[in-house]
Symmetry: C2
Subunit: 393 residues, 2 copies
């Protein structure tokens, strides 16, 4: 059957990471390729207790249809909390989504027609880039520096694309680079967005995972003009399988996003929303966050040490202060896909940087390593394998 | 702030039902307007027990990221079951979605560019119509007869819209009419779709809720050409708050839908998918279904009796053999919105038929009544109020 698919989907391919992971799903493969938070970080005992308590309530409270905006007590709590933290202004509203991915996807839908432009960090998170591509959106990448996007390149892109609708950014421990945008750059980016009338889509899935350095206020905290859509997630703080995130934005935009959400999946799983509410209001969040950060600090330190010990100095790695990822920069003469394939042959799964490129045809010379999924032994062994592979390439 | 929204979302309004329900959310309002399944029908004890068992398993099994296609044991079970029931062919595959609504929305996305045409029953389910509208899709409505769409009008529409991508149908106990498409018409519709090369999007959220007459095979069971996308739901069989449904279609289409699903929300809540699997494989599904059908039979019978007793013969009502809804046809001279408003003033919430019209500007003369949400007392009292209102209009 020759299906007449939409222009947007005709040529869209499944994520490259996904394809790599398919060939590396054996239990004997070291998982540096995944993007999963550490299972050890999940507050399992609290989750079990809360879920069991929820199931004792009247069935309609957790099993019936809910409203598209989300579970009201959770929305109310988050709005008060984000007001106290200086992120929410009086004109902002908040809705619950099925993971921050849905917030990104629906934001793109309410702003962009096919052919519209979104500016983004290059490289950037493949899940968001593919969501944008699936709506026929044209991506314009801004090169990354150690402290965030190249500001001159950003302004040039804004001038060249005066009708660009959104600027998509992951300011904290970016995926895939692990890099964070400095406070100074956040302020300048906000000013540029204001000057050129572009909405900032700020994605913050990893913000709770800081294990070094000082917290940097979000771009949303600067927003007094309704220019920033802020997407948060409970995938790392609680667990990703529950699929709960939120969007904070001007109330006019939340109204439109609610219409989009209703058309997309009606509402987010109700039990999961109540679980998030009861966890963040009833448990010791500060203690949990610190424990989680200590775990990620330990795992990152182990990987940084392993890379230093085993991998030649010609390969530079980013030094993230949080999150899940390290990006390695290979010399241009080195065959990046050759490195990835040789690693996979030796049972170490890593992701080619090309997966995160805005221009999929452009050669990439980076590899992404994840330190949250592998065990301590796997981290040490994986760094040894990577070092050995690079020495033979 | 004057936002430059997409063409599709600029003028899209929240669902009319939603707006009506906002004004009728008090506990003293009789809920004939809702579309909720009866809480009494939820298998609450089984749900509690299964959820508590799931939380005793290793945390990664229900809290970590899952794959976009869905929980493999659930997919495998459904594929075997749908093969045994004659719905699945060898070239079909199946994916899990966050409610049938998401299956409808993603199917529209993979097939339609803005301006493309979808043919559908008129009236039809507002949630699907709004999903189509949110993608800039042009809707062409086919008038409904008591046994399904008018076949001559359907063929004329196919001829007039040779590039139409999809034909959207709810063959069992349609929302809002409660009407079902006869076996003869299902076969003829399939032949027409084949002749004109249009894909059928078959939505079956209410199929398990038959309380009278004989089961009619689905259109999907006729499909040997890969022409039918079949969307199923667990919202009525188990509970809607869990947001779990599935799509059965040609494997090439499931591949594309998986890419769309990944961009939309990565995957469906994992605990909910395991709950569905463990319920349908481990509980007495036949006994549960019969109990549920008996409850809906009782509620419908009560409403049919109440309408006959109280409402003048000039108002005709559909006689559904299952599902949740009855549609009432008012005489053209009667002010339909006047009836709806007078009912709301007397604390009876009903939905104006205009909400389900393909052409929102066209005057409608119908009202939709739901019998699954109200209690027995509310059904009896609601019919009395409706009768009294109509006599005074």
């Amino acid at each position: 059957m020759n299906y007449r698919l939409s222009e947007n989907f005709k040529n869209l391919k499944p994520s490259a990471i996904r394809e790599i992971l398919k060939h590396t799903s054996g239990t004997d493969v070291i998982p540096f390729a995944a993007g999963n938070p550490s299972v050890e970080a999940f507050p399992v005992e609290d989750i079990r207790r809360i879920i069991n308590e929820i199931t004792k309530r009247p069935p309609a409270t957790y099993l019936q249809y809910g409203i598209s905006e989300g579970y009201t007590p959770l929305r109310d709590y988050l709005k008060a909390d984000l007001t106290a933290k200086g992120l929410k202004s009086d004109s902002d509203d908040l809705m619950i989504v099925s993971g921050a991915q849905q917030g990104i996807d629906l934001s793109a839908q309410i702003f962009c027609d096919p052919g519209d432009v979104i500016l983004c960090e290059d490289p950037s998170f493949i899940g968001s880039l593919n969501a944008f591509r699936s709506h026929g959106i044209k991506l314009v990448g801004i090169p990354m520096e150690d402290d965030g996007v190249d500001l001159a390149a950003l302004e040039t892109s804004m001038q060249k694309n005066p009708t660009a609708k959104l600027l998509y950014l992951i300011p904290n421990f970016q995926n895939p680079s692990g890099l964070s945008t400095s406070w100074e750059k956040r302020r300048k980016i906000y000013e540029l967005a204001k000057k050129y009338g572009i909405i900032i889509l700020e994605d913050n899935p990893y913000g709770d995972l800081r294990f070094a350095g000082e917290d940097i206020p979000s771009i949303k905290s600067l927003d007094r003009e309704g220019l920033v859509i802020y997407c948060g997630s409970f995938s790392k703080l609680i667990a990703p399988g529950i699929r709960v995130g939120f969007v904070l934005a001007n109330s006019d935009l939340i109204s439109k996003l609610t219409v989009a959400k209703q058309a997309s999946d009606v509402h987010t799983n109700l039990l999961a929303q109540i679980l998030v509410h009861d966890f963040i209001t009833g448990c010791d969040l500060s203690a949990h966050t610190k424990k989680m950060q200590a775990l990620y600090r330990h795992k990152y330190t182990l990987m940084a040490h392993g890379l230093e010990e085993n991998v030649p100095d010609s390969i530079k790695f980013t030094k993230p202060e949080g999150g899940l990822f390290v990006l390695g920069y290979l010399p241009e003469r080195m065959d990046m896909m050759g490195v990835v394939k040789a690693c996979i042959e030796r049972k170490l799964a890593i992701v080619p940087g090309s997966a995160f490129s805005v221009d999929l045809e452009k050669p990439a010379h980076t590899i992404r390593l994840n330190f949250s999924t592998p065990s301590d032994e796997q981290i040490t062994r994986g760094c040894e394998i990577l070092g050995a592979v690079i020495k033979t390439i």
